[in-house]
């Protein structure tokens, strides 16, 4: 079987719609992961009794089990049980965000650990209130350092979005399947879906590498 250029070009608009959805999912999921990850990291750092231990267990549990099952459990079990009716798209980015928040929380933690001890001591010597120590001294030093790691996780999140087709999200791979199921020709759309991924993630990774060189990694 050969490569059919006409068919490949015909399937492009559909794939393009798909990649837009994939990017949207990634961006929304990433924003959630950045925010929630920071909250999780702070809860662990501040050592709130009980809550910190719970967060630790939560992070370890989510990190060592597959995202796909978490998505299933959320979509088919938790959502009906809570009486929610979220669309597959919303479910998708929320679960991506929660899953990756457990990774980003570890990243933030490493960044916070890397802030020299003298900074803490100086902040205390200036008798800054606790909130100001975090927002004014520690985080402004910790966060820029971890930006490359966050970037890397964003890229891997981007590459994991296709598994959301299990709950019917119309991402680029699902669109490719859709195109293929009409014509029974898988070669062109699935290959092009791969090319789309490469086209987004390769430049993104070069960007992250630049960021790495500038920030000095943690």
């Amino acid at each position: 079987m050969n490569w059919d250029w006409d068919y490949a070009i015909d399937s492009l608009p559909l794939l393009f719609q798909g990649i837009v959805v994939t990017v949207e999912l990634t961006v929304l999921g990433a924003l959630l992961a950045y925010a929630l990850g920071l909250v999780l990291a702070l809860v662990r750092q501040v050592r709130v009794p009980v809550l910190s231990q719970l967060v630790y267990l939560f992070v370890e549990f989510i990190r060592s089990t597959p995202l796909l099952i978490q998505v299933f459990a959320f979509y088919y079990l938790l959502q009906p049980a809570l009486g929610l009716r979220l669309s597959p798209f919303v479910t998708g980015f929320v679960m991506l965000g929660i899953h990756y928040a457990t990774y980003t929380s570890e990243v933030y933690r490493a960044g916070i650990d890397a802030v020299p001890k003298g900074q803490w001591e100086a902040a205390r010597a200036l008798s800054l209130p606790r909130g100001r120590v975090w927002t004014g001294v520690i985080l402004p030093q910790a966060v820029p350092r971890v930006l490359p790691s966050l970037g890397n996780y964003t890229i891997s999140m981007f590459k994991e979005t296709p598994l959301l087709l299990a709950i019917g999200v119309l991402d680029v791979l699902n669109r490719a399947q859709e195109a293929a199921s009409e014509t029974f020709r898988y070669v062109e759309p699935v290959t092009l879906a791969g090319v789309f991924f490469l086209l987004v993630s390769y430049p993104a990774s070069i960007l992250v590498r630049k960021l790495e060189r500038r920030a000095g990694t943690v």
Binding site: S64, T65, L67, A73, M157, P162, L173, V190
Partner: protein, 236 residues
């Protein structure tokens, strides 16, 4: 409430061997490809380096799901024979994680102090001896923690075999789910997640044991575990 727990458990357990087979097969292929591609990234020949770089960036830059679909749905059309789902799964798991592993191998080999190379040259060891007797034994110990993370990623990725009907753990659960009322879904997902957690713990225990053996053979004490952030799952 959980009256069908026996049925659920026995159904899920039947998926476990497939998940384990996929994980072990994937790990074996990953290790082979990591070393081949990782050492090729350091080869003197430009062509070899370039080919290895194409493999690594190609597989790290595209989604694992796309690779799975490509090998399972597209490849049969191109070459004319179909792959057994489990085999296709192992192939994708190995190829994908091998690309990440190649960077681990490259990084570890490069982190061996330069004096070790010079010492090996001064002793007029052949390049093969230099690599096998001096560099790799030290580099492998460095690689083990990263490989631990990578293998756990791989274990989690076996859930993707659901999409090609390999009859592994996740699929068994999903096939069972529609026939049960919602309350009965709780044990399905809890048992599934616990199985994956258990396998992840087993991998970690095994790798820690290897780390101790490796460190002892180098005459070092096993390193104190610092809390390091996990190796990035992705990021080309």
């Amino acid at each position: 409430m959980f009256d069908q727990i026996g049925l659920i458990f026995s159904t899920l357990v039947r998926g476990l061997p497939v998940t384990i087979a996929a994980t072990l097969g994937g790990i074996a292929l990953t290790v082979v490809l990591s070393f081949v591609a990782g050492l090729a990234l350091l080869a003197p020949s430009r062509t070899v380096r370039f080919l290895s770089r194409v493999y690594v960036e190609g597989f790290r830059g595209t989604s694992e799901m796309v690779q799975l679909f490509w090998i399972y749905f597209v490849l049969p059309v191109l070459v004319g024979f179909e792959l057994v789902p489990l085999f296709a799964g192992i192939l994708v798991l190995g190829l994908n994680h091998g690309a990440y592993g190649a960077e681990i191998v490259r990084g570890a080999v490069q982190s061996v102090p330069k004096a070790q190379y010079e010492g090996a040259i001064a002793l007029s060891l052949s390049p093969a001896q230099r690599m096998l007797r001096v560099i790799l034994p030290q580099a492998v110990v460095e690689m083990l923690p990263s490989f631990n993370n990578l293998f756990i990623q791989l274990l989690k990725s076996t859930a993707l075999l659901y999409f090609i009907s390999a009859e592994e753990l996740t699929e068994r659960g999903q096939l069972l789910a529609p026939s049960l009322p919602i309350a009965q879904l709780v044990p399905i997902y809890v048992i599934e997640l616990l199985f994956y957690l258990l396998l992840a713990v087993l991998i970690t225990v095994g790798m820690r044991a290897l780390e101790r053996v490796g460190a002892r053979r180098l005459g070092r004490r096993a390193p104190r575990r610092r809390s390091t952030p996990p190796v990035t799952a992705g990021g080309v």
